[in-house]
């Protein structure tokens, strides 16, 4: 399409892609900005003979959250700290509130526990649907290929794949309109026809995925509405307060929440999971690279009545695959943060409970041999740990959480790797784990609404417990959809004296530490193939698979 104005290189083509030199690719591949993530990230790779041999991942933004929270009231951390991330504000909000409760010695009442689980579940569903379709799918699905699809065959394929249908003709004609109009909007300058797209994936499957890409926008919004009903709005909900929740459910609202959870769950089972299983075989090679450090950490999420981290629905645990696939209890005491390669001047190697975050006085520039990121390098027991759905699914699988075990085993069979959970330690495994977790959480969400209804019927349910103490140290160890999250708060005289957050992204996009050990994303990039150094699609896929 000859665009009047806006593009230089994007030319979606309905014929075969321009051949790109393959396998001889060597040089430096740089992705900056890495788009379709939350935040600013640079990925730099050394490529030799078509394979990545080294990598540096640089976080591009410093906003000073921890400085802002010092000297404020513990309850205020909830409002400010969820502004770290507009995709996972619920998790940060809960982490901050739990840090205050931990510091000031309060256990929330059962009603608040269930409400928090429900709001968190809605965010997981929102975030995972948004990630798979809106942020990741275009790395595997080429909209220009969807133009070649036969509509009747598309319906037949959807039926065969067990996935839902849509008005495929309308979607295709919408794409045609964009191309013919010469304005590609959000598809401007995409890597259409890139050779890293599975060449044997039928055009009809591309069209199905594009149709569901549009549908997913509505489903993520539906999940967000569930948060809004209980939390006032999303992003940045309003109702988590130290001691419980300010949301008191009514019958009408519970009905509304239940109906919407069921709608999302149905869609996950009828569309998202079948889509995943339909597309995955075309990218089976992605089971063989993108593994990362092989160390996994989860603090756990969704409390059961015991409120113990190891008994959460998705439990706490650490895995070091060098020692085989086995899980041990994880403790925040074993976390240290290093800044040798980060643009901070504060002391390196501190535990976040009393950690410091002070930016350099003058900016020294980007230097991969010295300082090159605004992210710190957190280490657990000295190791560089991957966090996220893959970590949670592996921990839950090894701890025998029934629905996780069942769905993971089913997926392994579908991928031709029955009984081999270790294949999940790969790019494709990381993608699949997130989608399988979506199904598990969708089921639980409906169960928890019923748990809430049951508890209300029993009577005596409470949602808030006032706090009287005004000093202490505590931590809210939790999970955002993208991984393990810790908020650390010290309170003196009713005010926050120190605050530190270790985000999931910090773990995954970590630069090298004091010993030169790479972060999980850097490590995952090494050994991956790159067909085109100028357009390193495979590297982008790996980076985005962490949902950084």
């Amino acid at each position: 399409m000859a665009s009047k104005a806006t593009t230089s290189t994007a030319t979606p083509t309905t014929t075969s892609a321009t051949p790109v030199p393959i396998s001889a690719a060597s040089g430096t591949a740089v992705i900056d900005p890495l788009t379709r993530i939350e935040g600013h990230l640079r990925v730099e790779c050394s490529v030799e003979g078509g394979v990545i041999t080294d990598a540096w991942v640089s976080g591009g933004l410093y906003r000073g959250m921890e400085t802002v929270l010092k000297g404020r009231q513990p309850a205020d951390a909830f409002y400010v700290s969820q502004r770290i991330c507009g995709v996972c504000p619920v998790s940060h909000g809960h982490g901050a509130t739990m840090a205050a409760e931990s510091a000031l010695g309060v256990t929330i009442p059962n009603g608040a526990r269930i409400v928090r689980n429900l709001i968190e579940a809605a965010e997981f569903l929102h975030s995972h649907v948004l990630w798979f379709y809106t942020l990741a799918a275009l790395d595997y699905v080429d909209p220009s290929k969807a133009l070649e699809a036969d509509i009747a065959d598309t319906y037949a394929l959807a039926q065969a794949a067990g996935t839902s249908t849509a008005d495929f003709g309308a979607v295709q004609s919408k794409l045609k309109t964009l191309v013919e109009g010469g304005q590609l909007s959000i598809f401007t300058n995409g890597w259409f026809g890139h050779p890293a797209y599975a060449q044997d994936m039928p055009a009809e499957l591309h069209l199905i995925a594009v149709a569901h890409y549009l549908e997913a926008l509505e489903i993520q919004a539906e999940a967000a509405r569930i948060i809004a009903i209980m939390g006032g709005k999303f992003p940045h909900f309003m109702t988590s307060i130290p001691g419980g929740t300010s949301w008191v459910p009514t019958e009408e609202k519970i009905d509304d929440v239940l109906f919407r959870f069921m709608r999302v769950r149905d869609w996950v089972y009828n569309t998202m999971i079948p889509d995943t299983l339909a597309i995955a075989p075309f990218y089976a090679d992605a089971l063989s690279y993108g593994a990362g450090t092989g160390n996994f950490l989860a603090w756990g999420v969704f409390n059961d009545p015991s409120m113990e981290m190891t008994k959460r629905y998705l439990p706490n645990g650490a895995i070091f695959t060098a020692q085989g696939l086995k899980v041990e209890d994880a403790s925040p005491d074993k976390v240290l943060e290093y800044v040798e390669h980060s643009w901070f001047k504060s002391e390196s190697g501190l535990n976040p409970q009393d950690g410091k975050t002070e930016a350099v006085d003058t900016f020294p520039g980007y230097d991969i041999n010295d300082k090159y990121s605004w992210a710190k390098a957190p280490r657990y027991d000295g190791k560089s740990m991957e966090v996220g759905p893959l970590a949670r699914m592996l921990v839950a699988y090894l701890r025998g959480v029934a629905p996780v075990k069942s769905i993971v085993d089913t997926a392994l069979t579908a991928l031709g790797a029955a009984g081999k959970p270790e294949v999940l330690v790969s790019l494709l495994g990381r993608v699949a784990a997130r989608n399988l977790e979506t199904a598990v959480v969708a089921d639980w969400s409906v169960e928890w609404v019923n748990e809430l209804i049951g508890a209300i019927k029993e009577g005596g349910i409470a949602f808030y417990e006032p706090i009287e103490k005004d000093a202490g140290k505590g931590a809210g160890m939790w999970e955002a959809p993208r991984g393990a999250l810790g908020h650390f708060m010290n309170v003196e005289g009713g005010l926050i004296s120190n605050y530190q957050v270790v985000t999931p992204s910090t773990w995954d996009i970590s630069p090298r530490d004091a010993e030169g050990v790479r972060g999980p994303m850097e490590e995952a990039l090494i050994g991956a193939p790159v067909l085109d150094v100028e357009k390193p699609m495979e590297a982008a896929r790996i980076a985005r698979s962490f949902d950084p």
Partner: protein
């Protein structure tokens, strides 16, 4: 390109939207825009027509953002995000959802600005990061400031979405050294004259973006400049930010009856009483949140039992915190750099007890015949006294 009415409504139907509910929605947009409801068909026509015509070029640039405003935009109702980016705007650059990656993304941004000079919208999300010569935000080897310097002068207008873009948001709160500020302030300092439409709150309410797109682009008010006449002295559309939350709050009746929530999760909350004593900033916060609400109008902050935290106010963290305390001292009349800007509730802000707020709201209450010596229904409560509240001060 011929406009196909049926196709448009078929698309809506696919999303479960009837023609009737779409027209009803256009009526509420008309109300939001301060237009007569008879304008609803005009708005509907403009949205329909946009579905078949040339798309208006736009770029969405993220500064020091949490992506919450992009996320919020993805929650817009009708047109929803898919319609906005496929039928109305050619959104050639938006980091969070665009297909392009790395260098090609950057090229899309600069090419759009170059090729459409004076004829594209720049939506700006996030704080303008000035700390360390702008290196607190780095993109493609440049600072975030260099992006603004290059793109903003070429845009027809900048729409600043969210409190971070408007005045620096929470990043500006003391004593942060990161150096956050708002884009209108930054452009002014740089002598860049591109007009800025400010849409505060954290995040921006997506329906306001929709309203501005309709007003500015579909109804042609950017081209004739008339949209600029609708802005207040802080660059905010008066039709959105002209009234306080308190003015339109469904709990307002309880406020006037002296019926208050003193503890979360209490019987008073179950009755929907007023949240003023637990810190509600509704009386000093100007937005139409109670009318437009959030997330397809399913709820909004106060309805969920949470006090308004005043996220639409300038420097809302320093001026609003502690958020669960009664309204704190707020600097008055010092504008965007200083603090609050709602002299109408000076007494409420400085007072700190409900009696003070009631007195200030006396004008409306006099008209309602409810004011005299102040309401006898709100003596000092034990709960407040225990927490150190004193009559007349915080």
């Amino acid at each position: 390109m011929a406009h196909e009415d049926r196709a448009f409504y078929d698309q809506l139907a696919e999303r479960g939207v009837t023609r009737r509910s779409f027209l009803k929605y256009c009526g509420s947009v008309a109300a939001m825009l301060g237009l007569a409801e008879t304008m609803a068909p005009t708005i509907a026509g403009a949205v329909e027509a946009a579905a078949g015509s040339k798309l208006y070029p736009a770029v969405w640039v993220n500064g020091g953002a949490c992506t919450g405003c992009t996320e919020s935009a993805a929650q817009a109702t009708y047109p929803d995000i898919a319609q906005i980016v496929l039928d109305i705007l050619s959104l050639n650059y938006i980091e969070t959802i665009m297909m392009a990656t790395g260098h090609e993304a950057d090229v899309a941004l600069f090419d759009t600005a170059e090729a459409n000079e004076g004829n594209f919208i720049m939506i700006y999300e996030g704080t303008v990061m000035t700390g360390l010569e702008g290196n607190t935000l780095r993109i493609a080897g440049k600072t975030g400031l260099e992006y603004i310097d290059e793109i903003a002068p070429k845009a027809a207008a900048v729409i600043a979405v969210g409190s971070c873009a408007v005045d620096g948001g929470w990043v500006k709160a003391a004593p942060n050294p990161a150096g956050g500020t708002g884009i209108s302030m930054y452009l002014k300092e740089k002598g860049i004259a591109t007009p800025v439409i400010n849409l505060p709150t954290c995040p921006v309410n997506p329906e306001w973006i929709v309203a501005i797109i309709i007003d500015a682009l579909l109804l042609g008010q950017l081209a004739d400049g008339s949209i600029l006449d609708k802005l207040d002295e802080y660059g905010r559309p008066k039709f959105i930010f002209g009234q306080t939350i308190h003015d339109n709050c469904p709990r307002r009746g309880h406020f006037e009856n002296g019926e208050f929530v003193y503890q979360f999760g209490s019987a008073e909350e179950a009755k929907g009483y007023c949240l003023y004593p637990v810190g509600c900033k509704g009386p000093q916060t100007q937005t139409n949140c109670p009318i437009v609400r959030w997330n397809n109008s399913v709820s909004w902050c106060v309805e969920s039992g949470s006090p308004c935290i005043g996220c639409a106010n300038y420097n809302w963290v320093d001026n609003g915190a502690p958020f669960l305390g009664r309204m704190p001292q707020v600097a008055i009349g010092s504008g965007p750099q200083g603090g609050g800007f709602n002299p109408g509730v000076v007494g409420a802000v400085a007072g700190g007890v409900v009696v003070g707020a009631l007195a200030v709201h006396g004008i409306g209450m006099k008209a309602a015949g409810r004011i005299g010596e102040g309401p006898a229904t709100e003596p000092m409560k034990d709960y407040d006294a225990k927490r150190g509240a004193k009559g007349g001060e915080k």
